[in-house]
Subunit: 333 residues, 2 copies
């Protein structure tokens, strides 16, 4: 078995992340990671008829740019693994239509990006495929009107809310080539602490992040100090604070080297309340800021756990609490 | 590489389907497969507050029953791979909350069940996991009001429409044990012939089924006569006829041994127009009727390609055509 402990898979062939691409919206480009994003759109619709079509175009752009940067021919990209926040993940399925390759649609909300990397790594590590594109995206304007209220209402944000990131990212995984290596994956379980406030996803997701991180440290006999960075997906400011507290309650101190994509992407003066969220959040931050720091040697080994709140408008209306999940990867230079 | 041709993966360790379970609604139980279904619900809400909660309960029941039949302890089920038709696949995520195991949420519409079996087979064949539960479900009343109109309107069905199956199914895959073996998977590409009628999913999906079947026959140098049954997911009556015609146009005759879960599950007098559809269609038919015929020896080798129409209400409203996909598996006794 290529597994240690209960939830951690070992990749002996160490799939390489040979190319990346990220694209973000205007607000994300105005934030602190400006210098790390190679592409941005200037208006939220990107010359399309609808926000949904702009979201699709961003994901297609991220995928095509990453493939171009990998210097692989399209026919050598064996598979696209993708997901997004729109109902029936239409952004991903329409993006998959653009490229002539096998497609797996997946959905674990904002943890979809690490889910994609984990499945892609299994397919490559097991020598089933040579090159896999893993991509996710999200768009503030499509998510807002699907999950919450029409944009035109101009509703106030609640104090625990986060802003869905307008952005997309893609990583190309390969058996051969140069780039950071994925050496392990700790797959998450669904955790639900009974949070029912759909505007407080940080609180819903923090216990799932904790569960996966604790499982990882136990499975691999490591501790936070073994990693240059412990990166969560989109807990935001509040969720990150909660994670540190509940990890401390379990005797694990991550305060020295934890950060969160949802915290990184916006500055406080941008008034996004608790920071960013969405499946484009971790995808755009990882495929720009994080990958550049891995490639430059600033980070040698990171633990990357994107987190997802598995709710829908129907489950919220029916009074259900919010199940959450986190899938973690060890990525080494 | 454990691959032949472009799209077909070979499973050298031949993951076994060691246990199955299917549960259906009253209309499905009144159909021709009555004697093959071990469980049914008598009313569409199954004592729950909403159709959505009944759908969830059915999927949970299918998963728990299959695990029980596998004689494995819950702690030995390493992972649940599941998906469904509801927005944000909440049926699957809530079902995953019930069982303490790793979870991958996936979505390829009505082809989700074979997508789950394919990913599960890779994880077992590659010796990453020992036992994986693969499950999908759907519910007529939840799908109807999510995708189309309120049930109370009592809209007439259009001539090309299909009925979403109320049902769920689960297969337990294992590295060891007895049962039919999954020996290959041919993963699909997204195919779109420009069909825009959301009530004619058979026509939208037939080209995707053709694409995957042709790829499979080419990759493996086989032909329809090498299989006791070529089973599609939910093309229904019209889609199945279209598939035979377009396969014939490519010189491949599947008329002798093709059948379709959407055709099998209802009889003509049940007035479901073109038959059944939904991610519970192939899951409930495969995990009852088909698996029993594999276990009894009536079938020795089948090619099972569930098909999915990757549309959403938003994409339909915005005038988009319907992308489709099909993932195929070779299952041998």
């Amino acid at each position: 078995m290529k597994r240690v402990g209960k939830q951690t898979i070992i990749f002996e062939n160490k799939p390489k992340i040979i190319a990346n691409s990220a694209i973000v919206g205007p607000k994300e480009f105005a934030g602190p990671l400006k210098d790390f994003f190679d592409y941005r759109i200037i208006d939220d619709k990107w010359n399309e008829d609808s926000f949904e079509k702009a979201e699709r175009k961003m994901l297609e752009f991220a995928i095509c740019t990453a493939i171009r940067r990998s210097k692989k021919k399209l026919k050598n990209i064996d598979m696209l693994i993708a997901g997004d926040l729109l109902n029936q993940i239409i952004t991903s399925s329409y993006a998959a239509r653009k490229i002539d390759t096998m497609y797996l649609g997946i959905y674990n909300a904002c943890s979809t990006f690490t889910e994609a990397l984990a499945i892609g790594s299994v397919l490559i590590d097991g020598e089933y495929l040579n090159n896999v594109a893993c991509a996710t995206g999200s768009h503030f304007s499509t998510a807002e009107r699907q999950y919450r209220y029409p944009l035109e209402l101009g509703n106030q944000r609640t104090p625990a809310s986060q802003r869905t990131v307008t952005g997309a990212g893609c990583s190309i995984l390969s058996l051969e080539g140069e780039g950071p290596k994925i050496t392990m994956a700790t797959m998450g379980k669904v955790i639900d602490y009974g949070i029912k406030d759909a505007n407080n996803m940080g609180a819903a997701m923090a216990p799932a992040a904790m569960n996966t991180l604790l499982a990882h440290f136990e499975d691999t006999s490591t501790s936070p100090k073994d990693y240059d960075l412990i990166l969560t997906g989109d807990l935001g400011n509040l969720g990150s604070e909660l994670l540190k507290i509940i990890m401390n309650n379990h005797g694990v101190d991550i305060s020295k080297n934890h950060n969160d994509c949802g915290k990184l992407i916006y500055s406080d003066i941008q008034r996004t309340v608790q920071g960013g969220s969405g499946s484009g959040c971790s995808a755009s931050v990882f495929n720009s800021y994080i990958i550049k720091k891995l490639n430059s040697g600033e980070y040698n080994k990171i633990l990357f756990a994107a987190t997802g709140a598995l709710l829908s408008t129907v489950s919220t209306q029916q009074g259900d609490s919010i199940p959450a999940i986190a899938h973690a990867l060890v990525i080494e230079r």
